[in-house]
């Protein structure tokens, strides 16, 4: 089970409180986690990744295990602690946004 923490605006859109838990087949990556997130909450399509290019939006960051994963390749495996569910995958609005 992958744990995902959304920023407040996206929690509102998805109508969730607290963390989201997702089942992801195989070794989890940014892409597979975001695919699973968007499949569960279609309203989030386009809010984290550009709809056409599937690239991370410029003012969104991905953190986990005290690391900035924003510039990792989308298909790179996420840290083992995220894959095991002991640490969450954090989707964060950049400090420069808003």
């Amino acid at each position: 089970m992958i744990r995902v923490v959304l920023p407040a605006h996206l929690r509102n859109l998805a109508q969730v409180t607290g963390e989201v838990s997702l089942e992801v087949d195989g070794e989890p990556t940014q892409s597979s986690v975001l695919d699973a997130l968007e499949a569960r909450y279609p309203v989030l399509c386009g809010t984290i990744r550009d709809r056409a290019s599937q690239r991370r939006r410029a003012f969104v960051r991905f953190f986990a295990c005290e690391q900035d994963l924003s510039h990792e390749p989308p298909d790179a495996p996420l840290p083992a602690a995220v894959a095991q569910g002991s640490e969450p995958f954090l989707i964060v609005g950049a400090m420069a946004g808003g």
Partner: protein
């Protein structure tokens, strides 16, 4: 659709039995059931302001979509309970929200705005070619005849349309691809399609205005387009009377005289009487003819309103006095309307989508400021009062006349 983002506010006690569309039908004189609903988009959410026909006491609902930029909220003229809102942030991009109950509750609809084909380039701020990139929806214009059909004006400039109530959007790419697109350049606000006007007397006739490209007209429901800017003269472009390149800020049409349109350009207030085939200047005695808004009285096609702004480099009212100017002669001769408006130390702006008129017997006029005030006049502009004065910066104002 899943998800109702906004808080559900207490229902108003009024029951709207039937609804007159914007500017089209005036209710019977003295009809106490008449009401108005003002739809306000701001930098940090949307607000819905309601009043009876006296327009003295107001209920304020909001913020809806709190914390998001709401460039525009607009209602269907044929089903005024049907509203559409453009919601965006730099963080998370664009959403479109729809309400089927007059703005009490909202649901997100499709937010996928994909240009047709390979969109090519336009001019960037520095004059170099720059690829078309979707940024946001500036303006939503519901069809005059079908509540499920809505035109959307977007940045980078293009027009999209939904015919299924927002479940899917498709570009009307004949506009972007008609031939001059590679020479369009951004205005200070971005390269946006900000104004969409439908001609109620000529089904299929649409106008679009783009900063900084100009006005374009379609006579076939948006399939094909051509620039209609003859008579416009602009400094800041190499050829001052070029076919395109003009920073048109706003155009307005009165349904009783649809061949006539009024324009507030970057500089110059303009008028056409031949469906935009040719334009002439009507700035007359305005203290400055820079500005953003222009609108027309609901019942008097020759009564026009503008809010002069000092200049392109000073986006605030002339001499710090917030003044609406009204012409009763279709331009050239203008009078300052000041009663109830601050006449000193006022340095707000009034943005292009932030003026509207209702169609109550005594026409109401509304405008919002970047200082968060929404001013209303219930007497055609003779006197003004703020409905609210401390909202986030106002980006857009629309009004629905409900009977």
């Amino acid at each position: 659709m899943i998800g109702l983002l906004s808080t559900v506010f207490a229902a108003t006690t009024m029951s709207f039995l039937s609804v007159a569309s914007h500017r089209v039908a005036a209710p019977a004189r003295g009809d106490l059931m008449t009401a108005v609903r003002v739809l306000v988009g701001t930098r940090k959410g949307a607000f819905v302001l309601t009043s009876d026909a006296k327009r003295k006491e107001w209920e304020v609902d909001g913020p809806h979509f709190a914390g998001w930029e709401v460039y525009h909220v607009n209602g269907s003229p044929v089903d005024p309970s049907r509203l559409y809102a453009s919601q965006s942030t730099g963080w998370f991009g664009q959403l479109i929200q729809r309400s089927d109950d007059g703005g009490k509750t909202w649901s997100p609809v499709d937010n996928h705005f994909e240009y047709d084909g390979v969109p090519g380039t336009h001019q960037w701020y520095d004059g170099t070619p720059h690829p078309w990139e979707f940024a946001r929806v500036w303006h939503l214009e519901p069809s005059l005849t079908d509540p499920d059909t809505v035109y959307a004006g977007v940045e980078d400039a293009a027009m999209f349309r939904t015919v299924d109530g927002g479940q899917s959007w498709h570009e009307l790419s004949g506009l972007r691809e008609h031939g001059t697109g590679s020479s369009w350049q951004p205005g200070a606000g971005g390269m946006c399609l900000h104004t969409i006007v439908q001609d109620p007397s000529a089904p299929g006739r649409l106008y679009a205005a783009i900063s900084a490209a100009g006005v374009f007209r379609s006579d076939d429901e948006g399939q094909s387009w051509r620039p209609v800017n003859h008579g416009l003269k602009s400094e800041g472009i190499p050829d001052s009377d070029a076919e395109v390149g003009h920073c048109v800020h706003r155009i307005a049409l009165h349904p009783d005289r649809p061949e006539t349109l009024f324009m507030q350009k970057h500089w110059d207030v303009m008028r056409t009487d031949d469906a935009a085939e040719s334009w002439r200047e009507i700035s007359g005695n305005l203290p400055t003819d820079f500005g953003f808004v222009v609108d027309i009285h609901a019942h008097e096609p020759d009564t026009v309103y503008v809010v002069p702004i000092t200049s392109d480099s000073q986006h605030f009212p002339y001499e710090g006095k917030l003044q609406v100017f009204r012409s009763r002669t279709g331009g050239d001769e203008w009078e300052a309307l000041t009663e109830g408006l601050p006449q000193r130390d006022c340095y707000v702006n009034v943005l292009r989508d932030a003026m509207a008129v209702d169609s109550v017997d005594e026409c109401g006029v509304y405008f919002g400021t970047t200082g968060g005030q929404v001013y209303a006049s219930a007497d055609s502009g003779d006197s003004w009062e703020p409905i609210v004065r401390d909202l986030p910066a106002v980006l857009s104002v629309e009004v629905q006349t409900l009977a």
